[in-house]
Symmetry: D2
Subunit: 359 residues, 4 copies
Amino acid sequence: MAGNTFGQIFRLTTFGESHGKAIGGIIDGCPAGLEIDLDFVQHELDRRRPGQSTLTSPRQEEDKVEFLSGIFVGKSTGVPIAFIIRNKDQRPEDYNEIANIYRPSHADFTYDQKYGRRDYRGGGRSSSRETASWVVGGAISKLLLKMENIIITAYVDQVGTIFLEKNYHELDLSNTESSLVRCPDPKSSREMEKYIEELKKKGDTAGGVIRCVITGIPAGLGEPVFDKLHAELGKAMLGINAVKGFEYGSGFKAAGMKGSEHNDIFKTEAGRITTVTNYSGGIQGGISNGQDIYFRVAFKPVATLMSSQETVDKEGNPVTITGKGRHDVCVVPRAVPIVEAMAALVIADHLLLAKVSKL
Amino acid sequence: MAGNTFGQIFRLTTFGESHGKAIGGIIDGCPAGLEIDLDFVQHELDRRRPGQSTLTSPRQEEDKVEFLSGIFVGKSTGVPIAFIIRNKDQRPEDYNEIANIYRPSHADFTYDQKYGRRDYRGGGRSSSRETASWVVGGAISKLLLKMENIIITAYVDQVGTIFLEKNYHELDLSNTESSLVRCPDPKSSREMEKYIEELKKKGDTAGGVIRCVITGIPAGLGEPVFDKLHAELGKAMLGINAVKGFEYGSGFKAAGMKGSEHNDIFKTEAGRITTVTNYSGGIQGGISNGQDIYFRVAFKPVATLMSSQETVDKEGNPVTITGKGRHDVCVVPRAVPIVEAMAALVIADHLLLAKVSKL
Amino acid sequence: MAGNTFGQIFRLTTFGESHGKAIGGIIDGCPAGLEIDLDFVQHELDRRRPGQSTLTSPRQEEDKVEFLSGIFVGKSTGVPIAFIIRNKDQRPEDYNEIANIYRPSHADFTYDQKYGRRDYRGGGRSSSRETASWVVGGAISKLLLKMENIIITAYVDQVGTIFLEKNYHELDLSNTESSLVRCPDPKSSREMEKYIEELKKKGDTAGGVIRCVITGIPAGLGEPVFDKLHAELGKAMLGINAVKGFEYGSGFKAAGMKGSEHNDIFKTEAGRITTVTNYSGGIQGGISNGQDIYFRVAFKPVATLMSSQETVDKEGNPVTITGKGRHDVCVVPRAVPIVEAMAALVIADHLLLAKVSKL
Amino acid sequence: MAGNTFGQIFRLTTFGESHGKAIGGIIDGCPAGLEIDLDFVQHELDRRRPGQSTLTSPRQEEDKVEFLSGIFVGKSTGVPIAFIIRNKDQRPEDYNEIANIYRPSHADFTYDQKYGRRDYRGGGRSSSRETASWVVGGAISKLLLKMENIIITAYVDQVGTIFLEKNYHELDLSNTESSLVRCPDPKSSREMEKYIEELKKKGDTAGGVIRCVITGIPAGLGEPVFDKLHAELGKAMLGINAVKGFEYGSGFKAAGMKGSEHNDIFKTEAGRITTVTNYSGGIQGGISNGQDIYFRVAFKPVATLMSSQETVDKEGNPVTITGKGRHDVCVVPRAVPIVEAMAALVIADHLLLAKVSKL
């Protein structure tokens, strides 16, 4: 109800504030018998954590996850898997100044309106530090998906005004992780890096777009009315900090196309029903059709600037602030594993939901 | 679980197939004491129903809603409000041919994959006839929102390649309902009508974009982590048949902007904290900030063509089909009240959720 | 949330008031492919309906159920199964007098306190007429359970001061339906009938106890912490109108027993692990162990008396009322199919939940 | 879904095994602004912890709770309140022997059936050590209830064959905590202590009954159909380890009463509508009427005996076991704070639910 739980059968409930004692969560509904590769989980966390490169926030967090329950002799036991990540490099004193000030395009004002108070240290619960817990949940989901040969891969498609003008089929996605900005095209990657470095010098920030591809998905996942598979993916993505838009398959471009261009004609290939094109993005009527699922997620530029801005305090008096704390110039490179994690949570949940839809 | 319920406190559960006996639903969680204006509910349904003009499906459905419970002496009593809409102009025989054939870019194939069977008459539950029940739920929600002076208005922003190149501030939204395509700009409206008529002659179809604006919304609605207000709106919109994308506030354009351009600076006006710009689209950190909420929804072109297409049958054999049944060339004009209805359901739910977030 | 939905995966949502247009519900989450025997459903309803004998309420309701969706060519399609039962023999005028009066031990006062208003006709939603919808949901559940050879049988164990002093093993449960009071022991049945007839003459009413037995249940159903199988059964039973208590297995008697007497010793029989005794009532740690599940449900006497009682009106003024409307002297005979229906809903739900608890 | 979450708006999700690293939970939906008295929370835990007296399990657990989130400057902030209790005095080696053996009337066999595996150390998740987390959740709930002057008090009503033959009105409940067995009547308390000591010598165990009283409750709490207030209380109690029965108000005795005896006549007292008697136990039609709520909970005798018992191993071979580990002879004294905690969680949840039931 209070919005801290994600999923229906495979459920993640999270807690924690940016500069509190710890963040973490409970994964409930993971089937018993799943082999839990702890190194893989930590590796996924390492992909998200700050301090990875000169392009990301210099906050030093080891982000070591500790599992407290639900795993026995290397396997899930079917009961809740709880985990915590202790906050280490906290500097709440960086935030004393903003206890009574509303940072532009942050959640300070809206939290105060909703709750009548807020933990102002580093944005409290509205900080994207929260997403570390999502990555843990996503990593466990990915282990479940791997057993079905479902693979989720995201990469950076746009940083500011630099676009990767290729479709995912034309790219070697194994390049993504070796790119500082997680763009699999080496040329675009270099341009994006340069773009970010220049904004950094000016104390300014950039937005971007992430594309995600899900392969190996069986036909028949998703619920047909309100919980359509793409609606669930969309909600998952729109929940990520700074996201402003979501499109799947042909997306916004579909609005300008004709039915005769857009329809995905069925054909039989190697005895299996498939489609000639995939404008549908692997989902028809809310249910997967066995083709690749692909979608794009738009991120706004980071709200914390290292230059001065006008704003108001709690009483509405005008004040000037300059960003403190340690922040990214552009979040999309670090958001790649977050997008994957949220997609994995959705697919894992629907994999289980599909088990009860027919006799 | 099975995806036929929408909302957390204010909940709509629906049922029904396109050519079955009836469609309908149960609205649970509507607070007691709400005056139910039945004429308003029917008026909303009339905005959605087929046969409104030469541009829409000629199926003749009166779409008369009958309420069965939950209303007494003109007011909600706090218990479930059930309603049904009998299907009248059914022609299931139009669909006998497709019992064993998969129409391209429809849900026939995916339903068979998920359930091992399907009610093939008119698309069964995957038909957008289902959305009539959403409009009923949305109408009741709107009555609740009216008490708080929250107004939801949608209109057509794009049809095929015809764009309405104005922001909502520059338009007279009271023109929307008098336009056959529900575009408030008379010139664009005429172009869109012409565009649709031409496609109709060719047996082809168009997509489009709807924009929606919510005014009068108080600050403090929305849950901060997974159930962010825009994530809930996004899921609601992505659940509508044929939707391929959602963006709110600055949307996909934000990806190309700099933080220094995009941040919404706070100021005090008439003793109230407000913002200079509204790139945030009225939502910060997932919670409404009291500014207008606005978003855009992209629709793909209608999948049923009145020209012949290649496809396969259940066994994978190639077949050729031509569209039967009665269909729209472009759904966006009729989808305007559906977008409003789903938005109303989301806001009504969060209005109630906000009552329990602080002492 | 508003308490009109039962179940997690196999879910029943109901609506309707005693003297409104109709009652009914939506069954969501029934797996596709289940053969729906409509005669069986109607037969279950007939077991519950008023006017069965001189011992039950003379209200004449045919209780003919109409299914509106979710069934195609005789089988469930996996989408919501909606149904309505029109109210026919309504006499709301019987209730005009109580619009402003609080009947003792009824829900009139508490509904007014909760909702600020109520549909006073025949108790509105608090009437046990509501349970007809549960019986429909239960009948569909029973069809699912039959496929797994799970059988649910309830019978009357006590009426007023007449006890059936035998355990269920000692009884021929096939006698239940031929007994006017649904007591399988002919001698006790006759005593119970006489007891009820005598109270009827005096305008007084009786309570009673129902026992229910579930056989053929596989081991492994139930969730271990808050949703223990017996906790779910208990909640289901306590939701039935007039129920005051629930016990399973050894029940309240267990409190006086020693561990050395009470423990169910495991043994191997025909290669299968079973128990020597069954004080556990077929459930250990909240999960079924494969033995019979059995429990007892206590009902208070009917609150509507055909003799005069003191009470107050809305303003608190003293008034005297005499029961109107058509009521049972003792509800337990008609509650037998209701107990079975609610038990069936619980077991069907947990049968589906068990499908996702391990790989 | 997997049964580890309790509540609808005010929700507790728990994790942890008896001899794992830690137990704990997340309280979500606690309204912002509640003063959190940490000493009170610890005090409630101390009432439950083992090692309190010679009558309880000698396991030495400090049960020190650590809060990780959701509290700032002494008050709840409206976001999840997470807490952990580290397990200290673990002796998993006590349980090696039972890795492959099924203890009678324990959950070993049923967990293996459900999950295909189990954490056998000390019963894993089926251990009543889990209830420490419930007491933390209950303590936070009690703080919310105190603000509305709602008080929940439980005490021991029966131990084995020793009954406390007085109603709660005739007792001085302030004596409860000074009694080793939490029975407020000094004479009965001494008899119960003696009864337990004698069983301890024999290596045997006892059951018992707890009664709970809720005073100060406003009228109007509870949902009318499936989530009746007593059905929610019943489910909460039946979820407690070893519970076999629940009754409220007149309970099982009601079955033998006549309507003319049982009805609670309304009257006006000091301008307020109240009832002459309270057989209803403060709840009518599932909704509180403002009178005291009272109920009784039956516990079976502890299953772990310190004498030898026959049983089988995983392969079904007969084996003999003798109880190891540290266990109570009778759990009811320590279960008193658990009963109160679960009742508090139910009432807190319904206090919040009541905020959205009318305009």
